[in-house]
Homo-oligomer: 430 residues x 2
Amino acid sequence: MAEALRIAVAGLGTVGAGVVKLINARAAEMTARTGRMVTITTVSARDRNRDRGIDVSGYAWVDDARDIADRDDVDVVVELIGGSEGVAKDLVEASLRAGKSVVTANKALIAIHGNELAKLAEENGVALAYEAAVAGGIPIIKALREGLAGNAVSRVSGILNGTCNYILTEMRETGRDFAGVLADAQALGYAEADPTFDVDGIDAAHKLAIMAAIAFKRPVDFDGVSTEGIRKLSSVDIEFARELDYRIKLLGVAELNDGAVLQTVRPCMVSRDAPIAKVESVTNAVVVEGDFVGQTILEGPGAGEGPTASSVASDIIDIAAGRNCPVFGVRADALQPLPAQAPESLFGRYYIRWIVKDQAGVIAEISSVLRDHRISIESLLQRGDSDVGTVPLVIITHGVVEADVRNAVAEISDLDCVVVDAQVIRIVEN
Amino acid sequence: MAEALRIAVAGLGTVGAGVVKLINARAAEMTARTGRMVTITTVSARDRNRDRGIDVSGYAWVDDARDIADRDDVDVVVELIGGSEGVAKDLVEASLRAGKSVVTANKALIAIHGNELAKLAEENGVALAYEAAVAGGIPIIKALREGLAGNAVSRVSGILNGTCNYILTEMRETGRDFAGVLADAQALGYAEADPTFDVDGIDAAHKLAIMAAIAFKRPVDFDGVSTEGIRKLSSVDIEFARELDYRIKLLGVAELNDGAVLQTVRPCMVSRDAPIAKVESVTNAVVVEGDFVGQTILEGPGAGEGPTASSVASDIIDIAAGRNCPVFGVRADALQPLPAQAPESLFGRYYIRWIVKDQAGVIAEISSVLRDHRISIESLLQRGDSDVGTVPLVIITHGVVEADVRNAVAEISDLDCVVVDAQVIRIVEN
């Protein structure tokens, strides 16, 4: 039998503890799968004395994770520290340079520094694997890099952040507003104390940028993701969406349109009957559209100890079995930069909601500006709750150019009749 | 660069033509992915002169596919002939023996001869890959063998036959009976002229047996699948299911229960809100339950030229890239036989529907037999359309043992009041 594959686990939070549990639970089976023993030799975390529900006394303990890169008893470094800079980045770079393979769940690191790290891994002939960085336990990286590799992918989209999907599901089911649902989600552990990365769409944008690199075989471009979170969504919009047979989902969408790449993370209206509309609570789902395969959907738990450990284990097993795949599916020097498509140039239907004064002539005033910007109206809803002197006004447009919508909305915001500026939500047809 | 990987395509039906198209369309990209040229050298089919929409003049033509095994200009044989015996089996065996890797879409061959073929592939140090054999374009084999390999899988289930799912969807949407919908499906090309393999559940059983082998790491056991098709389903059952907020789906279910493996393919009632209930028409879906990952669902096109070619290409790319995985996830000699669980021992809720005479005392008579067999009744529906003198009678049971249901139903079939024997459908809770 080949020599044992020696693992270091850096970061012993929930996920790190889950990885240690999994490797120990599956030791014999991993050998049956790979022909090698897989064994943890080294762990690192900030607090040695914290109770993590695992026995780490048999492993070498390293206080500064960066020191793992120099150790002779480690072949694979599992980086679960997190963050795109600092210790995590130092450790991953040093490990790759030292000829150690790296398995990471760190989406920020791969989204921001993935191109350089991929080159570093290739130069040193080692693996850089990150199945756990995107959509938790769903094996989407493997599906994109290998399982659907025969396809020219035209679109990857999905629900990539369980916290946001939980909040949106709760808002719809309870009629409550964002702030209250967020507070509950924090109490339940579904949202962080500082929820910025989740609710502002950054976490989803990290994941989208990674998938787009693989799907379109071009360098990862996190800065190119147009990102909008869910803070501004009102229960009014959730309710209108329901009436119109839509669901509001925070969608990541990466599309290849005429050789340019669109990357957006933002709330979208999806038809109630679309598969993605039925993905509720903390579940994630990714839809891949390829020229040969058509539409394929992968759905599952997007975060958490068990699902993340499952994906980390899959990467470790691949490395132990000697299965190599270029970091983004093709060699780093074969990734071709592609122009970015701005969302402004998108064509499609939009939901636009204002709060306006409840007075005569408002619709005429607004619709005249829309007409001047070539915005044709498919339907218009106004709620007549005039006790407060203001009412929501909703327009669903026909197919229009997003830039025209933005310009019209900017002009309309100056009208006296507008009390609350427009909420604009793109309607995604599939 | 490494030497070119030379492919022979045996069988040039729709799928074979699709594979040729894909390999030609993606030649440069496959090289970027694998570091090797991938090139077709040889093709084989029955009729050389048929127009297939592809130019095969540049390839060596072989009349008897079996001769491919001996050719020096072939590294990988793509077997798309089909059938568990005859030419397909001869070709695959001879190719593996000759040290050639094999990629196949042949579910019958793998389900019935997979164990011997896996050993043969291992003895000869070559790959036997069959992503296209299960669920068309969905990369479920890779997900089970690699992407979810860290998990102890407790259950694999799904909609594995697009023809049946199409027929059931149509029956529900139109209210028509099986025979009429089947005839339409045949006219549309969604069902074969001889639909036996599809509508009797055999095709789904092949796929289930293959997935169960990987999931539970034991030899593939097609004979151990308890199989029932959809011919006996009546529009009456479809309608009752709808009233009860269920959908009837032909489900393949493989479970590991107390160390024994259950394998069933049969119509099941699934809650209208379950993800699997929303999979309609020719789409396939597979649900995997693992101890670390939880529930993951993969959904997509289950058949057809493009999806099947996509999966064949994925296998070819793996072989070209030198990524090897044991045929069923672990080496053939590490597959451990496990006892089979008979469906009779299952516990659960059941839908039972009779057509009975529309007369007094029928319910008392039937419910008394049910009571004698420990079948407790959760609800009972009777339709009062007595013009014809007979009515459907439906029982939903509480949790009961399936053997008790069968015994009770056998006894009830002898009662004078029963006009049409019981239709028994298991209710699947998730």
